[in-house]
């Protein structure tokens, strides 16, 4: 297995053969990424400086014949949060990288001028991208393919927001699939890297192809027989709107409420009947959750984009008070083309709407443009301003911390953890969700833990020990998918048995692994990302859910009146630390680090421990 190292400052590339011990210890994807970030880590590195590295790593299952194996992790120190960050992307990009012969690309330095990396199997070149400067990410992808003259080339690129180092910039591939969170696009922008284009033609290594084929034939059949399979293909994640609204977890008006009266106008049925023109799937995925939507009439007529999915529809729907689905499609298109994260953009825009409503900011602060709930035209303009860093957009482009620095009075109304805006599931209804956000290694994102459904299903009054265990289980099993390079949706949405992934992995690498062994390795990586964050100055004080969770009761819907109790949160955090083998300051103990094979982290943890 090979890692491609690219030093943009020196315009040099080298190929490193990865030893088996490393490969199997960290599995791939996020695991490899976190380890490589750790090994390059210096406490004083600015995430947007040439010294920071960014790792693009599919996993050992990416591209293989098994359901939904099209995921790639992108890992670095995040400019949004200043701590470890990763984001994963679906589509075909990572598969193409593996077919070119590389299991990861590590990029450092800064190119002298705007450039793109062209990986044509083992022929690697850094080429000028001046002609693509300022171009949207979808357009860049289209143009690069045309210029290379091969429609099958896969492209990941940044839009104008990434070039301008907007801290919510994403990396986009396959026309609107995004590594959205933690500002990975800003890092490419800081390195003057506009795009990566790949053509890979090689066979992917599989130790026992016959065995893999046998398991996968059955796996595909099993999924296709699930009673929700066809519904899933039709609506994908858009079906979550109705679920989240009925159960009372949909973010509404900047996370003030969890129930949106007009949810029926922005749900999966509306999309399917009035907007959808086709399906898209990531590599090898039978579920095809992507929906290509077209706005057929009105002021946004002609807008076509893959999406929105649930997060975008909620963040640019209920959370900003928009009940016109065509406006959500438009917002999705603009964010994708400019290259910004729909979750963070939707969150910060909703913050500004609430701030304006409550007179916490003035009309001048907003450059004279009033911003109100459901005012789609101002919201579109705000998206553009963020992407191009114009006026107030320049402040929002700095993310949560930038907004708080300029307007400290807004801190209580921003729902974030560690500088990353909360994704589209309210945490007030479920202690597990609050704990999941608070202890997620990248900030308030649901990728690590999404225990809210389970907690609601079981009624919220159960033992805190069990709740902490549920969060830890989520934080162990969900990142495992990112390490393997596969999507977790077959497991979450169609109840696909997670043990099968151990079989896939064993067949692929030719060494027997059980799910328990893989989960242990995933847990080790969680301790590693924790160690990275502790080194970067994080402490127990940072493991807290957004303020709103404790002091702003839900007003409407099934959970009206509900808030979480601060003391109870402290209690569950103690339990969580204890069960993780971290001390009461949230620092992994020496024993825990040793058990995770992270002996080299011990010396860095000692100075951080509270010695009183």
């Amino acid at each position: 297995m090979k890692v491609l190292h690219v030093d943009l400052s020196e315009c040099k590339t080298s190929v490193e053969e990865v030893d088996e011990e490393f490969a199997l210890k960290y599995i791939g994807g996020r695991g490899w990424g976190a380890r490589l970030v750790w090994e390059h880590l210096k406490e004083d590195t600015d995430p947007l400086s040439p010294e920071n590295i960014i790792v693009i790593a599919p996993g050992p299952l990416s591209g293989l014949y098994l359901p939904s194996a099209g995921k790639t992790s992108i890992c670095s120190i995040s400019p949004t949060t200043g701590i470890y960050g990763d984001s994963n992307i679906g589509g075909m990009f990572g598969v193409e990288l593996r077919q070119a012969g590389f299991d990861a690309v590590v990029i450092k330095g800064k190119a002298p001028g705007l450039s793109y990396l062209w990986i044509d199997d083992d022929d690697i070149q850094l080429k000028s991208a001046e002609q693509y400067a300022g171009m949207g990410s979808i357009e860049t992808e289209h143009q690069l393919r045309e210029d290379i003259g091969d429609e099958t080339v896969k492209v990941a690129s940044i839009g104008p927001a990434g070039e301008k180092m907007v801290k919510m910039a994403c990396i986009t591939a396959d026309w609107g699939r995004n590594a959205g969170r933690t500002g990975m696009g800003a890092i490419l922008g800081s390195k003057n890297l506009k795009a990566i284009a790949i053509r890979g033609t090689r066979d992917l290594p599989v130790a026992d192809l016959k065995r893999l084929t046998g398991i996968s034939d059955k796996a595909y059949k099993k999924l296709s027989r699930h009673n929700l399979f066809e519904f899933w293909q039709r609506q994908g994640l858009m079906s979550v709107i109705d679920y989240a609204n009925t159960t009372g977890i949909i973010p509404t008006h900047n996370f003030k409420d969890t129930h949106f009266e007009e949810a029926g106008k922005i749900n999966g049925d509306v999309m399917e009947l009035e907007y959808k023109i086709g399906d898209t799937a990531c590599f090898g995925c039978p579920m095809a959750c992507g929906n290509v939507n077209l706005v057929k009439d009105g002021k946004y007529a002609g807008t076509v984009i893959e999406g929105p999915e649930y997060e975008t529809a909620a963040m640019f729907g209920s959370n900003v008070g928009i009940s016109d689905f065509s406006a959500i499609v438009r917002a999705n298109y603009l964010c994708d083309e400019y290259g910004i994260d729909t979750i963070t953009a939707g969150s910060l825009i909703s913050v500004m709407i609430e701030a304006y409503e409550k007179d916490l900011v003035t009309l001048e602060d907003l450059d004279g443009m009033a911003l109100n709930w459901g005012d789609d035209e101002s919201i579109m303009e705000m998206i553009r301003k963020i992407a191009f860093r114009e006026g107030v957009g320049d402040t929002l482009a700095e993310g949560v911390y930038g907004v708080i620095e300029r307007w400290p009075q807004l801190a209580p109304i921003i729902s974030h953890v560690k500088g990353l805006d909360q994704s589209a599931y309210d945490a007030r209804v479920a202690m597990t969700m609050a704990l999941g956000y608070a202890t997620s290694d990248i900030g308030a994102h649901h990728a690590r833990a999404w225990p809210v459904a389970k907690e609601l299903e079981m009624g919220c009054n159960w033992d805190l020990n069990e709740k902490a265990d549920l969060v830890i289980y989520h934080q162990t099993v969900r990142p495992l998918f990112d390490m393997l390079g596969v999507c977790r949706l077959p497991w979450i949405e169609l109840g696909f048995d997670e043990n099968t992934y151990a079989e896939f992995f064993s067949a692929a690498v030719g060494i027997e692994f059980t799910l328990e062994e893989l989960l242990k390795l995933s847990n080790d990586v969680y301790n590693l990302t924790r160690a990275i964050n502790i080194r970067l100055g994080l402490s127990r004080d940072d493991d807290k859910p957004p303020d709103r969770v404790f002091n702003d009761p839900i007003k409407t819907g099934p959970h009206a009146g509900k808030v979480l109790n601060r003391d109870e949160f402290r209690e569950i955090l103690d339990i969580y630390y204890e069960r993780r083998g971290w001390d009461m300051d949230g620092i992994p103990t020496d024993e825990t680090l040793k058990a995770s094979g992270l002996d080299d982290a011990i010396e860095y943890m000692e100075p951080k421990r509270n010695t009183k």
């Binding site: 429609e151 399906d279 990531c282 590599f283 984009i305």
Partner: protein, 182 residues
């Protein structure tokens, strides 16, 4: 009865499972680029995903283009004979839908053989976008569409409670409630 492969591009999600199962069963490797079928994805102008696979022409242009008579039609399947092929790729350019493929590792161009009458891609396609149907049913969708379009234009008059009404042929089946389109 002779059967043929046909595709419904509107259904295709572009997942490339067809490529995977094809490559594994024919080339014995996990490499979609060695498949005898290829999914083309275009976006955004226009949006389309479409599996490209040999139509098994009865008078194949690829055969006509071959300078060494390496392409033969046997039992309705167009086959490239490896021992006669000189890898000039004339057939690749000649195919009007581009259903003959090349790969650096392989000398002879490759194409669909319909898996001996049990096409793997048809079975594997999660969206049922590839069909294996009797030859004479090809074009059926268009025939139905034409008939339906004609029926939509034709009206019959009838009386209901003494009142004269009109009904289109196409509405007879649904009871004529045209007002509610859902």
């Amino acid at each position: 009865m002779r059967k043929k492969l046909t595709v419904i591009p509107e259904r295709c999600s572009g997942c490339r499972v067809c490529e995977l199962v094809c490559a594994i069963s024919h080339a014995g490797v996990n490499n979609p680029k060695k498949a005898n079928i290829r999914v083309i994805s275009l976006y955004p102008h226009p949006v389309i995903k479409m599996p490209i696979v040999c139509e098994q022409c009865k008078k194949p242009k690829c055969r006509d283009a071959c300078p060494t008579d390496a392409i033969v039609v046997t039992d309705g399947v167009v086959t490239i004979l490896e021992d006669r092929c000189i890898s000039c790729h004339a057939c690749v350019s000649a195919c009007h839908i581009g259903a003959i493929f090349v790969h650096e590792d392989v000398d002879t161009p490759f194409k669909c053989d319909m898996c001996g009458g049990n096409p793997k891609c048809v079975e594997a396609c999660p969206k049922k976008a590839i069909l294996y149907v009797p030859e004479h049913t090809l074009g059926q969708a268009h025939r139905l569409a034409s008939a339906l379009q004609y029926a939509n234009m034709q009206e019959v008059e009838y009386f209901e409670h003494g009142e004269k009404k009109k009904l289109r042929y196409a509405e007879i089946e649904t009871g004529g409630t045209r007002g509610d389109s859902r």
